[in-house]
Symmetry: D2
Subunit: 346 residues, 4 copies
């Protein structure tokens, strides 16, 4: 069994981790840390988690956690997360961090977009970016993984192969992203109340959402040159799920088969990637509550424009599911352990 602790367990990514781990065949959950809810039973906050009966949230005690855990998932606010991770790494525990703290190769970019000084730049140098399908070979030997953001996973995965193979004009990318409310976390916030969100739809953070920088980092690596993209998020009146509609110009002679083949070459053997047939488009209910990403596309021959659509569950493939996928890779157990479920559709 793998001994696992979660720090920041009561937020929605923590909740998702607890759900996944509760039916993971190799997982043994040790410490569930929550500063605000230490001493409470897990089932007092989350009555659905009945497999955690009699288990309580705890205060953070680095030593206990390090002693008892093979893996620690950290799901704290940025900067706070890095501090805790630094201590854990120092004690030889493997860490998968769900904050933004270990996602950036260049700390300057992180500090500019997150407006905070990075607490442990030395550790950051060892961190591997946890987009499993792309960095699996490095993840397998990592001791600290910076788990990608939700929007970024849904944006990078469909664009990465196209950029690598030079199939699209990399200067023309527009990502129109739509996310369910759980992407904003678990908060007492009027703007997140049912009466405000339901039967509504709106754009937010146009032109300046932080995930822009993370997407640009990875696509620049894929393209071999510095790339800027237009990333623009919207808030859907649903609980979970992200769908991105991505626009890019293509050369006149590019065909739908070219695009399909490119995806098939990169992802044809990936369990968690659904490549949709021509004319079939992803939808959120295809991937909800699962670790899958669904990718489809349409080619506009009038305008020589490629429209790629991608969908994930923001809490699973966009956060905790991918984190467990990374843990599986690092533990050399089958990558789909604990992540076998398909979406229930309704």
């Amino acid at each position: 069994m793998i001994n696992i602790s979660v720090i920041g367990a009561t937020g929605y990514t923590g909740l998702e981790l607890m759900c996944i781990l509760s039916s993971h065949p190799h997982a043994r959950v040790r410490h569930l840390v929550s500063r605000n809810n230490a001493g409470s039973f897990v089932t007092d906050l989350y009555p659905n988690l009945i497999t955690y009966k009699d288990k309580k949230f705890e205060e953070l005690c680095i030593d206990d956690i390090a002693n008892d855990s093979d893996f620690v998932f950290t799901a704290l606010p940025h900067a706070a997360s890095a501090e805790v991770c630094g201590k854990l790494i120092g004690k030889g525990v493997k860490v998968i961090d769900l904050s933004a703290d270990f996602r950036y190769n260049d700390i300057g970019v992180y500090e500019k977009w997150y407006k905070v000084k990075h607490p442990c730049p030395e550790i950051n140098k060892r961190a591997v970016y946890g987009l499993t399908e792309i960095y699996r070979d490095k993840i397998i030997n990592a001791d600290i993984v910076g788990n990608p953001g939700c929007y970024t996973t849904c944006s990078i995965m469909p664009l990465y192969p196209l950029f690598k193979e030079g199939l699209v004009n990399t200067d023309t990318v527009i990502i129109d992203a739509k996310s369910g409310i759980s992407g904003a976390g678990r908060k007492a916030d009027l703007n997140m109340s049912f009466a405000e969100v339901n039967e509504n739809f709106k754009a937010y953070s146009l032109t300046n959402h932080r995930h822009t920088s993370e997407i640009e980092q990875e696509l620049s690596l894929a393209a071999g040159k510095d790339i800027l993209i237009s990333f623009n998020p919207h808030l859907l009146p649903i609980q979970r799920g992200i769908l991105c509609t991505i626009y890019c110009d293509v050369a006149k002679d590019i065909t739908e088969q070219d695009i399909y083949n490119c995806y098939n070459d990169y992802y044809g053997n990936e369990h968690f990637v659904i490549i949709n047939k021509e004319g079939v488009l992803p939808q959120i209910k295809q991937v909800k509550h699962t670790n899958f990403i669904s990718i489809g596309f349409a080619l506009d021959k009038r305008l020589n424009k490629l429209i790629v659509v991608s969908a994930i569950d923001n809490l699973t493939k966009g956060a905790s599911g991918q984190a467990v996928q990374n843990m599986n890779v690092m533990s050399k157990i089958p990558e789909i352990c604990g992540l076998e479920n398909v979406s229930k559709y309704i």
Copy 2:
């Protein structure tokens, strides 16, 4: 024109008042008071209220309000509301209070269920209970009206005629009530967040909801004896609307026609009461965003049980719409002024 001010304008009943008054042909809105948002433009909080362009929320100034207003709507928390109302009444303004402070004939009942000392029992003696269809004759000459609660309006109106006419066994009443989230007000509260409320349904305050006492007061008056009822609310994942399913035992020989006739006698000429034909049941979308109440019923001959179903919009007939209806009555203008709209159904 009627000069009107609203104290506690930024909550959802205040919002509903502002919406209704914006197209009321005789209303002139003077002061919109909000302690938390004084100085802000109305449209900064509610971008939909574009007819209030350039108008700002203000601090409470009793003198200005009394000088400039014929009517004041108070929508403050209980006890706080009564204090303000007391001062306004002292200055000769007519007041319609949307809190619970002036709904009770017996202050002891109020103080027991609301666990607070009533701030102005003298004023309470002059207050009229604002269930328009039942107390219209008293409301017309009142200077202070205690506007009924949302659940109570939806519960009392269908039961009142049956109790008056002795058609049901008054000891057997069970009200299973279901309300949309706006009934809980406008708050930054985790339990009211979209992720918690959506795709969920639950009971709350079983056996001890405060509106129980208000319903019992009015039904006791109707029956001419002390009545206890079982009132049990639930939270619907919708924004607005209440539907009550009401169970009572009836004598063997009661027919559907008896019930229909009773409703027709009491409400047949009421503009805002929809009496549904046999076999037709109310639904929330029939009355959403309107001041109507819809009443229907089924008679279970196997069990000699009458099941009455009633539906209102909790913010309109259940609060601000009925408040404006009362103002219209007190102003001797047509009762439906500003309340003409039918539900848009979708």
Copy 3:
């Protein structure tokens, strides 16, 4: 491995079966029958079912199914289902029928409420009612199980122990039931369209819903005398889940501890039954997408009335989950196989 076929696979209970079976460690899915969609790929209808890649829906061929299957789940309309079951039983296959056809001890009651002649009364005599927690001892040796209805599971389970132990007045039971839309099946029906259902709530089939008869059958057995109950369903604007609020009179001296103890005696060791602590009430998100039933209660000492609240997922514990639970019992494998997941809460 257990060889399994599903007849009527494209409805929502069929969909739920396919989902559950796709991660059931002992299940091998053989034939998926759908008259309307024979020849289509499973993923053409349900793009979420990617583990069924390359599998097609088929026409009904009794011989093939009987040859290849240890178990068959039938999810056809009533009467049609019994005919198919009759043929399969004749060939020695074990059958779990999700229609109403094999739920009644007395065919006369079935024929009265369903207004159809029972196609195979002989088979009906051998059928066992599939409420697992209550009839487990008979189910284990059954070759045909009549899987209970969704409303009935959610109604009988909380009332059965109370009736058995004589804790409530059995003549006073009122069940106010609320269900998500998937309980009505998968249909092109205007009344089930999003624009009609969303932001709405209504009662339907008051006093005459067919599940009344199924509930009365089981409660009469529990009470040892003929029982009539008032069962009244409502339509919730959610996809899945049932919550029942159940009212019954109790003797003056009954305490909350009595009720809790009763549930604990009957269900304390049941994996799929959550007995909530005093003051904690079930909610739909506690059990959504799971095979659990959650039971809680409040005691109204003013009125000597017990209010029991129960919640299930109508497609899982209320249909396909319980069907798989029964198959597990009949196969002598752990009862929770394939049903381990807890609700994801959001």
Copy 4:
């Protein structure tokens, strides 16, 4: 009073017309035509329309309608609508057609995108395109108006001034559009069922939606040259409302003030156009159930890209509200008659 009939009254645009007309101070509703529901009471289909008590839907009788009506709204499927309009125009009635039949200057474009022969090209020559704010001067004297599509209203209005003034690169326009389900009409269709639509989101008709051609017609007129645009719709799990996110390249020296001034010049005096201040973005709840359009924008200086966001209610400004607005113009009564209401926000 203006005598008005509606042909095709039972669809959602018909429903919206009936709602608006029921509180229009100058409207007298004469005939409500519905082939499928002739003979039924209006309130049998729409229990919310209680102001139409005792009124029935009728068969189509051109003579009666022409005799009794000053204005006729036609809300039939395309081609069917034109045939009826042709007959009505021949009898001297003014017609506002909500189908696509009279929206195109060039019948060839209509016939190509709608794949049908136009039934009355002669009438089409007299038709005026009913985008009120842009063609008001022509509408005032028209006898037949082709009322614009919902997506097109929401797309053209924000782009028209920018194109007229040459503020954006007209070759770079991408419209990412999101609509509530009522845009698809009132149908018994599995894809529109609650269980399918709720908690889901998807793109559809990428690159080939018919409204593309209508948008291109008007923007080409604005630009003075042939324009192609990329228009891509998505389905929101809400009942009403459209939000468009529009991307276009701009010259380096364009400022936010330039954009704001341009909108202010064109729409500053328009009652139904909300021009949002810098940094404030439209949302659907701002305009739901109203005839307003809300326009806001962000300028991406990194990429020299303008992002315009626009929001309308698809059934009001996007269909029936604008139709009534046009009738008001043609009747020389205040343009806002019957359209005074602001959104209730929740």
